[in-house]
Each structure stands twice: as C-alpha cells, then as structure tokens.
Symmetry: C2
Subunit: 235 residues, 2 copies
DNA sequence: GAGTGGTCTAGACCACGAG
DNA sequence: TCGTGGTCTAGACCACTCA
C-alpha cells in the first residue's frame, strides 16, 4: 500500500462526504466559505480547495465563482438504453437547435459520405428543471432529414425506423471545456461519450449521434435481448 | 467566454502537448525534472505540476514517484465487445486469481442470491507488455464455478454458453484509488465501468462481471446485430 | 546520499457576484 | 465595495528510487 498516511485533503473530503450523505449538509445548501473551512480544519486554503476538488469530481458539490460552494441535489440517474430506443422521461425538457452543415473530417468518415456532402445537425440539450442534463449532437444526411421529426419522446426520430443495424461505441473521458460549460459540470467529472451509428439495409449510414452524458447522473444499458419493459427500471 | 486570459498551466500543457504530438518528445522519454521545467517556463513548481496534471488526465504522461515524468506510449485502443463475446488479443497477457467468498450487500443483489451464498471470484488483470491494461472481477455462484474454464481467449468462459440474456450497464467515473494503483493510471483519468449480468433460461444469474477499462485506451462497442467479424476492426 | 516527485503552507493578487 | 472563489508564488518537508 502506498497510502499509509492518508493525505489531509482526503480526510477532509471524507468528513464532508459523510456530512452530505448523512444529511447534516442538505442539498442546495451553501458550504461555509473556503477561508472558514480552512480555518476549521486547520489547513491552508489550497489544501482545502484540493479537498473540495475531490467532491466536485464526484459531482457532490458545485463551485460557483463569487458565490460559494453548494451541495448538489442528488440527481436522479437517467438511463440511456442502447439499440436506438432511448426511453425518455417526461420530466426532462429537450431543447433542439437545427443547423445545416457540410461533411468534413471526422464527421465525413463517421457517416461514410463524400466530402462536403450536405448534412443536418440536431443539437439537443436535455434539462432537468433548470440544470442541463445531457448533450447530443445528431447528424443526418440532408436528403434524409425531412424524414426526421420530433417523436413523442421529444427527441428526433424517424431514421431509426428505417435502420437495420445500430452500432454504438462507448468511451469514458473528461469533458472538453465546451462540454463542461454547456452541461455546467466540473471539468474533472468524467462523462460517458456514446457514438451511435445507424445503418439501413443497404449499409448506408442514416444517422450518427454523438452523446455526452455526465458520469454522475447517467448510465447506459445494453442487453442482448432488449425487452419492451427495459425503460427506466433502475433502483 | 469565461476564459479571456488562459491560465498559465493551460498554456504550458498546450506547449508540452504539441511537443508530444509533433514527436519532439518521444514515447518512453523522460521529461526534464519538475524543477527544471518550472524554471524553463518561469513558474512555480505547483503551477507546473498543475500543468502536468492536465496531461496526466489525458493519459499523455505517466508520473513515477522518485523517477520522473514519462511520455506514455500511444496505447493501442482495445475494444470491448458487448453481448458476452469479448474478443481478446493474443498480445494481451491475462493473470487470474481465483478466490472463494460469500455473497453480501451489493454483490448479493447483483447475483440475486441469498445472503452468504457461496461465490467464486475471478480477478483478471490484462497486461500489454508489462503495463496493466484492464481489470475485471467476475463472480459466479460456486456451484456453477466448475463449469467455468479458461477459454482460448485466456478469459474465463463457460457460463456464458448457458446464458440466454446479457445485460450490461455502462458508467463513466473516476477510478477508486485501488483501481488507479492496480492499473497504474492517474486517479484523474476517467474509466469505463461495465457491469455485465448474464442470466440463463430460468432467469437465474449465472455470472456477474465488473469491468474497469481505462478511458484513454479502451472503447466498448454494442451492436443490435453483432456480426462474427465484430472483432478489433477499429481505425 | 542525491535526485526525484508528493504534499502542504501562508500568503498575494485577480475575477466574479451581489448589494 | 465587500465577500467569494480562482490562480499563483516561493519555499518547506516528506516519500520514493537508484546508485
């Protein structure tokens, strides 16, 4: 074991973590200022800030410049179901921005289309209440775009109906600075990045989606035999 | 934009990053000591260390206490294929430790067995050369354990053959300190955590696996109609 | 023991938010 | 303007690696 003497920041983080989980510190509440906390734990401010950084990476607190550090509400975990059928929660609002663009670089390869071929992008951001929840960029060849419409779930759907095969690649990484600010998460909080590519019977790519789900509030589930009840039945 | 004045650590990280990607700093090479780098960039050592921490979280460098900071070899990304058929690379060595234990808490619920019911754990660590690559803990009810044997892939397999349904839950998070030291990765490097539960025709759980894949070197792929060619054909 | 990274200190100064 | 968090400094001391 390398850690015979636990570092101060970990013991402080542990203390605050238990105070949060036992409810002594409630959701939405503001922590004492960093100066006060540093004095309380008898450490310097950088050390205290290192402790808070650990909690921030776990999604337990939110730092707001100029205001303070706040206990995050324990967010309901949302579950992304693989295989093209994303069950969506009526309590999540979705905002969508549609943009036309032309295929280049990475996107061109993903959709297997010619360079500069016309695409339509749907930029979808889901919100739970007023806090952003997940981010999706969906790309469709423009000649297929009219077939896409907002389904009852609030997400674009349509091309999936014609697709015969969906291939989803899942990676874990830290968010880009843009993603972190869009989702209002710490840049130290890991995200689940899912690239979903749907092809039709002729092997044409009819849709590619880049999803970014904050790791503290989202799971993805894949089953070999998805049942129709596979929606949001998490504990 | 919040970042009108880029912080010192980011500009230093950017500089080192381009030196790595352009090959001015080669894989395996040791960086100058932190004191030297701090002097070179005219910053204090904590600031320089913050810059290195960014590169560490991207998996670009490896910090070795008492020796120095090293450029990581660009690791081949390995692909975990969902659905119970993990294609394995002959260049990856697997070490397995078998332990008997009894079901409790989280594990009990996962396997849907009675408390203290006997289980067998397979702790599998894959190595690429001498560096650890991935970590898997596989749990099987002990009465099924004799059926498990090392397949040609080097991984335990057997119960999957009798399973009819595999459900895999994927999350992104930071590694626990234990996982970070086992995999020799930064505790700031995101990992992909996959919980795979296989059930047989009677809905009995025949196997539960907890996989941890470092985000800088692993993807997971799930397809609706997996083909037999779905093995390691990544770009 | 020499050299390295790991942790921590006690401040300084800047940027943001609210009155 | 005041209180907050964000960044940085210059150095101390400890732990680890290797000769």
């Amino acid at each position: 074991m390398t850690r015979s003497v636990p570092s101060r920041r970990h013991t402080i983080a542990d203390d605050l973590r238990t105070q949060i989980s036992t409810g002594r510190l409630k959701a939405g509440e503001r922590l004492p200022s960093e100066t006060q906390l540093a004095a309380h734990y008898k450490v310097s401010t950088p050390t205290l800030r290192n402790a808070l950084a650990l909690l921030q990476a776990e999604g337990l607190i939110e730092k707001v410049h100029g205001k303070g550090n706040f206990i995050r509400s324990p967010l309901r975990r949302i579950t992304y179901a693989g295989g093209g059928r994303t069950p969506f929660d009526p309590t999540l609002q979705v905002s969508i921005r549609t943009t036309n663009l032309r295929a280049r670089g990475h996107l061109r390869a993903l959709l297997r289309v010619a360079s500069n071929s016309p695409l339509t992008e749907f930029l979808c951001i889901t919100h739970e209440g007023k806090s952003p929840h997940s981010l999706a960029r969906i790309y469709v060849p423009r000649d297929l775009a009219p077939a896409v419409q907002l389904g009852s779930s609030g997400w674009p759907q349509g091309t999936e109906a014609t697709s015969t095969r969906i291939r989803e690649t899942v990676t874990a990484r830290l968010p880009t600075p843009e993603e972190a600010s869009t989702l209002r998460i710490s840049s130290a909080l890991a995200v689940l990045a899912i690239t979903s590519v749907a092809t039709d019977a002729t092997d044409r790519v009819v849709e590619a989606a880049l999803l970014v789900l904050p790791g503290d509030r989202a799971d993805a589930v894949f089953t070999t035999h998805p049942t129709s009840e596979e929606r949001g039945t998490e504990g």
